[in-house]
């Protein structure tokens, strides 16, 4: 197997693993956050709007780690720096 196809294969596998493992943790975290917010809303319906806005902000914060994984996956697929190295060889 020459280096070109090796880099391509490993990039695709790496991007898939990156997305899968990277989104796992943030999915669990978002689930916990949403469950806690729903519980709080059920206990205190008067504060629902405040809890909801806080929940959206915290969900976006938690989601950031999954988005970093997504960006890394895009980087390996579309802007892989090792392609140029392999082409120039």
């Amino acid at each position: 197997m020459d280096s070109y196809s090796l880099i391509g294969a490993i990039s695709v596998i790496g991007a898939c693993l990156c997305m899968g493992i990277g989104s796992l943790g943030s999915a669990i975290g978002e689930g916990n956050a949403a469950a806690a917010a729903l519980q709080a809303m059920a206990q205190q319906p008067d504060e629902a709007s405040r809890i909801r806005s806080t929940m959206f902000v915290s969900l976006a914060m938690i989601e950031t780690s999954a988005l970093y994984a997504l960006l890394i996956a895009f980087l390996t697929l579309y802007a892989n720096p090792f392609w140029n190295y392999a082409i120039n060889q």
């Binding site: 405040r50 959206f56 976006a60 989601e63 970093y68 895009f74 802007a79």
Partner: protein, 247 residues
């Protein structure tokens, strides 16, 4: 030499031209020697023009009383809602954060909602736009902090809770703003990319569901960007001196 080329404006993003994640920045519409106007800049101008035109049309003849035009009602709801959010989140009673938050919110909201037009590439799906928006927030943090608490109060934030945390605080100052830009970029990029990949497989009905989901995430991202801008800007508050009650 002036050259105008609009033929790539409505290419399906990422499929017709596989350049990379900085795709929109590489399609030049108007070129004049070394001065290029790419799709991101052009679409930003379209968004700005749309906001200005709509606001001008509505505020041209403002009405009071029982009968109010529909668009004026929409804008009033928007302004009052964001005013309430900004004042509740920052804890300040004067509307000092409203201008910045409203500008960011309107621009990002309109740009994200226009993804519903299939060939429109949202300017927020380009890293240069989101980083420029994050730079506004990065400048606004010391501005509001110095305005409210003075330069001493602003610098005091960096040595809290202990002076040993100084490098950490400086890093977090940079990375919290960097994360804002990356978050918006990642969300919009994944939305556009997913819709275009889906439209390559199933061109007719299936992309509609993803685009509807994109409207939801787009509006939530606009709200979150404005809210985080307020949260970061109001992190240094005016010191309220406890009043001594004398009888």
């Amino acid at each position: 030499m002036l050259s105008v080329d609009f033929s790539h404006w409505w290419d399906i993003p990422y499929l017709d031209r596989q350049i990379g994640i900085a795709d929109f920045d590489h399609i030049n519409l108007i070129s004049w020697d070394n001065f290029h106007i790419n799709v991101t800049i052009f679409n930003s101008w379209l968004v700005i023009a749309l906001i200005v035109l709509l606001s001008w049309l509505v505020t041209r003849k403002l009405q009071t009383g029982e009968k109010v035009s529909r668009l004026q009602t929409v804008l009033e709801i928007l302004v009052l809602w964001l005013q309430k959010e900004a004042n509740e989140t920052s804890g300040s009673r004067n509307n000092q954060y409203l201008g910045m938050a409203m500008g960011l919110f309107c621009f990002i909201m309109v740009a994200n909602l226009l993804t519903f037009i299939p060939w429109f590439r949202p300017p927020t799906a380009s890293l240069s736009t989101t980083m420029a928006l994050a730079a506004i927030v990065f400048i606004s943090i010391p501005y509001f902090a110095i305005k409210n608490a003075g330069i001493k109060g602003y610098l005091k934030k960096f040595i809290e809770p202990i002076p040993l945390m100084l490098p950490m605080n400086i890093f977090s100052e940079f990375f919290s703003v960097l994360a804002m830009g990356l978050r918006l970029f990642g969300n919009m990029l994944s939305g556009v990319m997913f819709a275009s990949i889906l439209s390559a497989f199933i061109p007719f009905v299936a992309p509609l569901t993803m685009q509807t989901l994109g409207l939801l995430t787009g509006s939530i991202q606009a709200y979150i960007f404005a809210l985080l801008a307020i949260v970061y800007s109001s992190s240094v508050k005016e010191e309220i001196k406890p009043e001594i009650i004398t009888n």
